[in-house]
Amino acid sequence: VKLGRREVEHLSDLARLRFGAGDAASIARDLARVLEYMRVLDEIDTAGVDPMTRAGAAAPPPRRDEHAEGLGVEDALAAAPRRYRGHFLTPKAI
């Protein structure tokens, strides 16, 4: 996999990250290095093997819906960078 400037820009857009020119070059180099290592996975035949997305064989059993106290507005907002009348305050989204 070759990661050019445009690919790195596309990925950083998806990840909501921005890199300066120097950092972008070094991140492209690092990603290429790591992806090259990950090519060892191609050596393993995984035909017919299901992907495993959780540790342990079974999903946790479903539980009864029960009412419980939440955090409450004051606690939830306590660490907010900005707040306004019981809400998180952010810049305009649209």
């Binding site: 909501r16 992806l35 299901d50 305009k92």
Partner: protein
């Protein structure tokens, strides 16, 4: 021996007879931290005044003869990615500088209910992403055995603190080896329970299908006693499994006292994947590992060869899956609800600036890699491929479990490496985890035990891997090994660490 260098069960015995008070233990730990912290920098936040005050409050109860649990009064540290309401929880990241969670992690609540005292929050690689505790926004932690070397990571602060006598017990987290690798490098015991054995409510998420809270202590018995207090189901975490009904903590402790715990090794089948150890393992590690197998055999165990997939496949699969999960989990750091924010005209621009300004380089690297491996056109080739390899790894361990009761490998292929040595190439750093990621992928319980020193005097770790859900069997085996060996009694030469003023900057 100073009080701060003793185990929790030794201290409990002294406190039970009234010989020692909780405040004396805490003063010893705080004095040690004061003396060595400038050189080690294990902590992000030390809560000395409150820790001492709480210890003094316990003194009064110590005199009343009220029955107390096995870790009562023990000074414990908590990795700084585990939420504490009364102390900042920074994950060693600038983006959570000064952050105070609105709740305690379940393990913290249970730790305190058991009467243990929190000394402070320990350093880590940012969000748990690293193997050396060098990727921390407050600066690196040093290895107490040789301060020019790393303590391992990501729980390097917790392992260094326990090794140096700055705490007796530690709660930390292990995703791909973050408890076991630093335990190996610092000469202490690091236990990673089965997936689901301990609630993760309040553990800041990195890779949720593998994240697990683990214990670091000076022996396997202490790990077991701490595990017993924090394990079990939790209404706040659907993945926390029921407690193993077969376990009786008092029987576990009693087995030690009777001196017959080592009987357990008689006839125990220890499986070793010799073919995967042939290359890339330091001579020092190989020699000490062979001697550890001899020690197990001398106590009656049968060492047998097992076939396992080469660990380099598990390593590659681990890093694909962990980075994919990280890229999703860390989307929450956007400046909107908590943590730092860089103001901007629009919300989207705020996300970009906040994340770019306050996340560290290694974290960004992993988010980028995970974003790539989940992106259109690459998901099948990377994420799904790695998830299929993960399934093969799981089946591999299941097959080995048919012929062995426990598996043994070195925890790491080398002793602690020099600071800076593996920062240049990310794959070099990832290779540190080659023996620890397999059990993480499979969700198996595993433990790193001291197995002696390298020729240069650095600690080396023996990793034992148990069966899924077989946490107590594994801990009993680990404890039995320590009944017939003395490696876990070695302590780093802390008297050599001069008191120096702290150099790290604070995020708290």
């Amino acid at each position: 021996l100073n009080l701060c260098d003793m185990t929790a069960h030794e201290l409990t015995a002294l406190m039970d007879t009234g010989e020692v008070l909780p405040s004396e233990v805490m003063r010893s730990v705080l004095a040690r931290a004061e003396a060595v912290e400038g050189a080690i920098r294990a902590y992000v936040t030390v809560d000395a005044d409150r820790a001492l005050q709480r210890a003094v409050e316990l003194d009064a109860r110590a005199r009343t003869g009220v029955p107390r649990g096995p870790i009562w009064g023990a000074p414990a540290c908590v990795k700084d990615n585990i939420c504490t309401k009364d102390l900042p929880t920074t994950c060693a990241s600038k983006i959570l500088e000064g952050y105070r969670p609105p709740y305690d992690a379940t393990v913290v609540t249970r730790l305190r209910e058991a009467g243990a005292l929190t000394v402070g929050k320990t350093n880590l690689d940012e969000f748990g992403m690293g193997s050396s505790t060098e990727h921390s926004a407050v600066g690196p932690t040093a290895n107490p055995w040789d301060t020019s070397r790393v303590p391992g990571g990501s729980s390097g602060g917790a392992a260094a603190a326990v090794a140096a006598g700055e705490a007796v017990l530690a709660l930390a987290s292990d995703t791909g080896g973050s408890v076991r690798l630093p335990a190996s490098f610092c000469g202490v015991v690091g236990f990673r329970p089965s997936y689901g054995a301990v609630s993760r409510y309040g553990l800041v998420a990195y890779a949720s299908s593998m994240d697990q809270i683990g214990m670091i202590a000076r022996d396997a018995l202490d790990c077991g006693l701490l595990f017993a207090e924090v394990a079990g189901p939790d209404g706040a975490d659907a993945t926390a499994a029921p407690r193993d009904a077969s376990f009786d903590p008092s029987a576990f402790a009693a087995a030690c006292e009777t001196g017959r715990a080592s009987d357990r090794l008689e006839g125990l089948r220890v499986g070793v994947p010799f073919s995967t150890l042939a290359e890339g393992v330091d001579d020092d590690v190989r020699i000490r590992f062979d001697e550890a197998l001899d020690e197990l055999e001398a106590a009656g165990a049968q060492v047998t060869e097992v076939e396992l997939l080469d660990p380099s496949y598990a390593l590659a699969a681990y890093y694909v899956i962990a980075d994919c999960e990280a890229s999703s989990n860390l989307a929450r750091y956007d400046g909107a609800r908590y943590g730092r924010r860089t103001e901007a005209e629009t919300a989207d621009e705020m996300y970009f600036r906040t994340r770019s300004d306050f996340l560290g380089a290694e974290v960004k690297r992993r988010i980028m890699l995970g974003t790539f491996a989940l992106s259109a056109g690459y998901r099948d080739r990377y994420y799904l491929k790695a998830s299929r390899v993960r399934h093969i790894v799981l089946k591999d361990y299941a097959a080995a479990a048919a012929v062995a009761d426990v598996l043994a490998t070195p925890t790491a292929s080398s002793p602690a490496f020099a600071a800076g040595e593996r920062l240049g190439d990310p794959v070099d750093m990832y290779m540190s985890d080659v023996f620890t990621v397999g059990p993480s992928l499979a969700g198996l319980p595993c433990v790193s035990l001291p197995m002696g020193l390298s020729t240069a005097g650095l600690p080396l770790g023996l990793q034992l891997i148990g069966r899924a859900g077989g946490d107590w069997d594994l801990l009993r085996t680990a404890h039995a090994y320590q009944c017939v060996t003395e490696h876990h009694r070695l302590r780093p030469p802390v008297e050599r660490l001069e008191s120096r003023p702290g150099e790290g900057k604070s995020l708290a």
